[in-house]
């Protein structure tokens, strides 16, 4: 997983940014290709709809391009982009009055129904049970903590990128992550003890 500090921009990325700032659309196209997966997934996490996420991500890329003249080349591009896309997604979510449960729905879709228990060996059964317990524990987290944990672990974003995508300070990311992981640990511990008791 990436560290909490923003990753330095690569030389290739910086070059693409500089060319795009000069109006080279193809260079910006390469930046889109590089970062579209992260942008789309952040938007999906916030909107729980692939179509809406695609619209929000595309709009974010367009807005980022139009404002690219003010971006300082050499800085990592992805946190800045994710801030624009995350804000676009949040605005759309707010506009549609459907905040409640959106993250949970997106999360359920991402993790699916959980691993089947009918595996052929005890090891696979245990692995499946564990995965299902992790999924259930993640779904029991509050939305704010689940969003941060998901960005950090399922999207592999840095703390700075998570903060940018969710529109919250890095300190808030740290505190929510700490709380979320502590609750997950306690929840999984309880589940493990309960499982042990029934065997």
């Amino acid at each position: 997983m990436t560290s909490g500090a923003p990753d330095p921009a690569s030389g290739a990325e910086t070059l693409l940014v500089l060319r795009a700032q000069d109006g080279d659309a193809a260079a910006y196209g390469d930046l889109v290709t590089m970062h579209q997966a992260a942008a789309f997934r952040v938007a999906y996490l916030l909107l729980a709809s692939a179509a809406d996420a695609e619209d929000a991500a595309q709009e974010g890329f367009v807005k980022a391009y139009l404002a690219l003249g003010r971006f300082r080349a050499g800085e990592p591009f992805r946190p800045w982009l994710l801030q624009v896309v995350g804000n676009e997604a949040r605005n759309r979510r707010r506009a549609r009055w459907r905040r409640e449960g959106v993250v949970a729905r997106a999360f359920e879709a991402i993790l699916g129904p959980g691993a089947p228990a009918a595996a052929s060996s005890e090891t696979l059964v245990l692995a499946g049970e564990t995965r299902a317990e992790v999924r259930a524990a993640l779904l029991r987290l509050g939305e704010e903590e689940r969003l941060v944990v998901t960005c950090r672990y399922l999207l592999d974003l840095s703390e700075a990128e998570t903060a940018a995508a969710l529109g919250i300070p890095v300190g808030t990311v740290k505190s929510r992550l700490h709380r979320g992981l502590r609750r997950l640990r306690a929840d999984l511990d309880r589940a493990a003890r309960a499982t042990e008791a029934t065997r």
């Binding site: 109006g23 003249g69 003010r70 949040r90 879709a109 691993a115």
Partner: protein, 262 residues
């Protein structure tokens, strides 16, 4: 038996990430390039995150917000330092910036409302000085538990006024028991910050060169909703509420007014 805890929480989450099934990422390149066409990046283009949602700004306001959003980011970065220095109250952060951006003056205080309604709001509860009589105006910014309530008094004949207004004093109540401070201030060289107490509640008198005040969006997201250069200001916290008195009346008079708030 190997328990989930034995496996390690981080390993379990990494495993969950491996098993996650995201919708296929669409190819956005062609669509984005078609939309940007032959446009070039624009140095004056505002970013979405720098404009408060559901509000349209005039062009000067957009420029103002754009400049101050950058300052807001700096304020957030400085939050740790500010905390370490002790310049923090519930709902309030103080940061340093050099030089201050050259921006306009005057604080947009939100929507006006009848004074009696403002005084009846329970959270945050805005207090009125005992000696000044009824406020001449009241405003509310935001909604629900994160709204900011402000009372204002016009300057009497011969009294100094706050820059850009006919007011001598504003008293702002900001909920301080929320997770993220709603008010950020940036001060630069020429601004002095003196620790003070108001009936035992700690605070600061911020005076000298005009300093910047930014009020973050009430939904708690980072961004600038309102910004302005502020004059001499007293801030202090009481019972979970941040009180901010912007005053043209000087330190002693303002502290006396603050002591009479009830």
């Amino acid at each position: 038996m190997t328990t989930p805890i034995d496996l390690g929480l981080h390993a379990l989450l990494r495993d969950a990430a491996t098993g996650a099934v995201w919708p296929a990422t669409p190819d956005l390149r062609a669509g984005v390039l078609a939309r940007i066409g032959t446009a070039s990046p624009d140095l004056s283009a505002p970013l979405a995150e720098e404009i408060a949602p559901h509000r349209s700004g005039t062009r000067p306001m957009v420029r103002l917000v754009r400049v101050l959003a950058l300052a807001a980011a700096l304020a957030l970065v400085l939050a740790g330092l500010v905390t370490a220095l002790g310049y923090r109250l519930p709902g309030f952060d103080l940061g340093f910036q050099e030089p201050l951006p050259s921006v306009g003056t005057g604080l947009d205080l939100g929507s006006p409302l009848p004074v009696r309604e403002a005084l009846a709001i329970d959270r945050p509860r805005v207090l009125a000085p005992g000696d000044l009589g009824q406020p001449d105006g009241a405003w509310v910014l935001g909604a629900g538990a994160q709204r900011i309530v402000t009372l204002a008094w016009r300057a009497a004949a011969g009294q100094p006024t706050l820059v850009g207004s006919d007011l001598a004093l504003t008293v702002m109540a900001v909920p301080g028991d929320i997770e993220e401070p709603l008010v950020h201030k940036l001060v630069g060289q020429g601004t002095t910050i003196d620790p003070v107490t108001v009936n035992g509640d700690r605070g600061w008198w911020i005076a000298g060169a005009p300093h910047e005040i930014m009020i973050l969006r009430p939904d708690g997201t980072a961004g600038v909703l309102r910004s302005a250069l502020a004059g001499d200001t007293l801030v202090f916290a009481r019972d979970g509420t941040l009180y901010r008195l912007e005053s043209a009346l000087g330190r002693d008079a303002t502290l006396a007014i603050a002591a009479s708030l009830r």
